[in-house]
Amino acid sequence: MRVKSMKTMVLQVLPNFALARRAVNFPRLFISYHSNLQIQAIQVLLVREQRTFLQVSTIKQSALSPLMHGVKRIRYTQEALEALKQREKAKLKEFQALTEEVLTKKKAGDYSKDAFDSTTRLLRVNPEFYTVWNYRRNIMIHGIFPQCSPAEINDQLSEDLSMTTAFLKQHPKVYWIWNHRRWCLENVPDGPSEDDINADSRNFHAWDYRRYVLATMPVPRTELSELAFTTKKIEANFSNFSAWHQRSKLLSNLWESGKLDSSKSKEDEFELVLNAIYTDPEDQSAWIYHAWLIGNGNDASILNREIKAIQELLDEQPDSKWCMESLVRYKRMLLKNHGGSLSLDEKQRLYEECSSLLTQLQEVDPQRRRRYQEIAESLEH
């Protein structure tokens, strides 16, 4: 049985949001007292609250980086800034000397092991130095690999894979590191064989890399086991749109190839996504996935059934924007695709319902009111 709106339930578990907020500080401790379903609902709140209350970790970075994300502004006095510069002086000198050494070797076409080791040292300090990654690969291709057996090449590439794994723990969003991993895999004599392909929840680099590895493995992992992976991710966090997205790609393939019975599987998906929607009707990830399942809305019985389910939720949560938005979307599909089998009265009723929902949407979601107005205007034609 589907749970009643989870938000209502959470508010019963937690008489006020303040408690949930306090729980942010002890999430693990806190959720251990509750059932799985409650945990899911509480996590929804925690994720939202964390955005407001958790401090982004402060990385000490001066004002001179041209591109930063989530680095808190720190006010330095002139003296403090000077002191910082003094402390960094040695580091700067070392970095400049190493840069000079590597670029000189590069210019000289030095493809020795010694040059290779200096790239390791420099990349450890600055993994965004893409020229040095290029140089490192050139050393491997032209200097090291020609004298290596396939097994030794394998070992070297494995070493680079573990080195970059360590780098990614510190710099999960640096394109150049992901790029180097991809290159390593492409150059492994027997093709990629990584077992440890576990994606971070929303890091698109990790997901892209995962898709890449899965697609190029000599013995491909089955799409069904990958589907199970996305189920796990979604169950851990309904808001993880990256996992919903991956799921939509996998299911399209599985349905097309006939490895899964599409109508049966679709029913399971509707059940899953409606659970997510009922858990948190404000989470757009699930609604977007729901819209994908509906597709062009060619099946009138599915459309009518889903409209009914959403209407029930709207009755319970009368100001739910996403319920209204989706009802308009699906009712317009009924009119457009199945208008021929509707009576004039039924059509008129649908038009009026859409129009009234769009008026309400302009009130509950004023930021996007112009869009709702345009849709309302298009209804009249």
Binding site: Q96, F204, I288
Partner: protein, 329 residues
């Protein structure tokens, strides 16, 4: 607009001018791989704020030319760094804005750019072959500015982007990837330059883009993610290319962008209270320009360069920005 604080243009101009000064700073050297891009960001921000001459033109051109990688036939981000499509585009953009394209070996750099196209139609960033739609856009944008689009296989290019389109109307970086506003912009930019906006599902994409606006007025890049000033440009430019900029609340977004201002030292950050940088400064002011914020110069959302210049080069596409507002007292 009366309640909205005013963009402190003189302070931001000073901030951008100061960026090249502290050469004894570690971070400055650690980010050398972004130098060429940073100069493009700084120059564009200055032009949008009406202060093109705040940085020395000759020095800038000299720096750009010193980054030429003669082995590859493109520009690196810094002298002695390898050529890459992103720094090559920034170099071409800077030279275009400074009216110095005559310093460039156009056939040579065109050859470099075209050499990066893969059999699938997507472009690689450099010879090592990292692929994604950002690089395709860098290539198409550069070829457009150089007047070399006739040498491109348009259908091959478009066919790859078509395969990156998702059911939400958006585009990912590569085939199979999740829609991301920072990838929608280059995909749409490419289609716009190649006059293939008919590929775009405007209603669905417009819906997805409009839903990027959060209650605080800021925009995020994907569902259930945090707002960030740079999305003011990725999302707004995309909305203006499909002519749906009015589908979000402009005043609230303007207020959000301005709240990310460092009112003491200048510059804009990703969000309020964070450290400003030149990247968020340019995409913040470019966003403000598209929203019709008073006193700014019009920006072309496709090329992210002054609209007047792009128009004079005959490269204007069918985008629409909001009309420029006047200051109210």
């Amino acid at each position: 607009m009366t309640s909205v604080p005013k963009l402190n243009i003189p302070l931001h101009v000073k901030y951008i001018q100061s960026l090249g000064e502290n050469k004894d700073d570690l971070t400055y050297h650690m980010t050398a791989h972004l130098r060429m891009n940073a100069i493009y960001w700084g120059l564009t921000a200055l032009i949008v704020m009406g202060h093109k001459d705040a940085l020395n033109r000759e020095e800038m051109i000299d720096f750009v030319l010193s980054c030429w990688d003669d082995q590859a036939g493109g520009f690196g981000a810094h002298p002695d760094h390898d050529a890459h499509i992103h720094s090559t585009l920034s170099a071409i953009q800077i030279l275009t804005m400074q009216g110095a394209l005559d310093k460039l070996d156009i056939p040579r750099v065109t050859k470099f750019i075209l050499s990066l196209q893969q059999p699938s139609g997507v472009f690689a960033g450099d010879s090592f072959g990292e692929i994604d739609n950002r690089f395709t856009f860098c290539a198409i944008n550069a070829l457009g500015l150089l007047g070399q689009l006739d040498k491109l296989d348009v259908e091959k290019t478009v066919s790859y982007i078509r395969k990156c389109k998702n059911f939400d109307g958006g585009y990912g970086a590569v085939i199979g990837a999740e829609s991301h506003a920072a990838m929608v912009y280059p995909s749409l930019g490419t289609l716009s330059i190649l006059n293939r906006m008919d590929e775009v599902d405007v209603d669905t994409l417009g819906w997805w883009l409009a839903e990027r606006q959060l209650p605080n007025g800021g925009l995020n890049g994907r569902p259930e993610k945090l707002e960030d000033v740079c999305y003011s440009f990725w999302v707004l430019s995309s909305l203006s290319m499909i002519r749906k900029l009015h589908w979000i609340d402009a005043d609230k977004l303007i207020a959000f962008i301005l709240s990310a201002e460092d009112s003491e030292h200048g510059g804009l950050a990703d969000r309020p209270g964070d450290q400003p940088d030149v990247f968020h400064t340019v995409f913040g002011v470019a966003g403000l320009s598209l929203l019709g914020y008073p006193g700014l110069v019009d920006i072309d959302p496709v090329y992210c360069m002054p609209a007047e210049l792009i128009e004079s080069m005959g490269l204007r596409t069918g985008w629409e920005a909001l009309p420029r507002k006047a200051f109210t007292s």
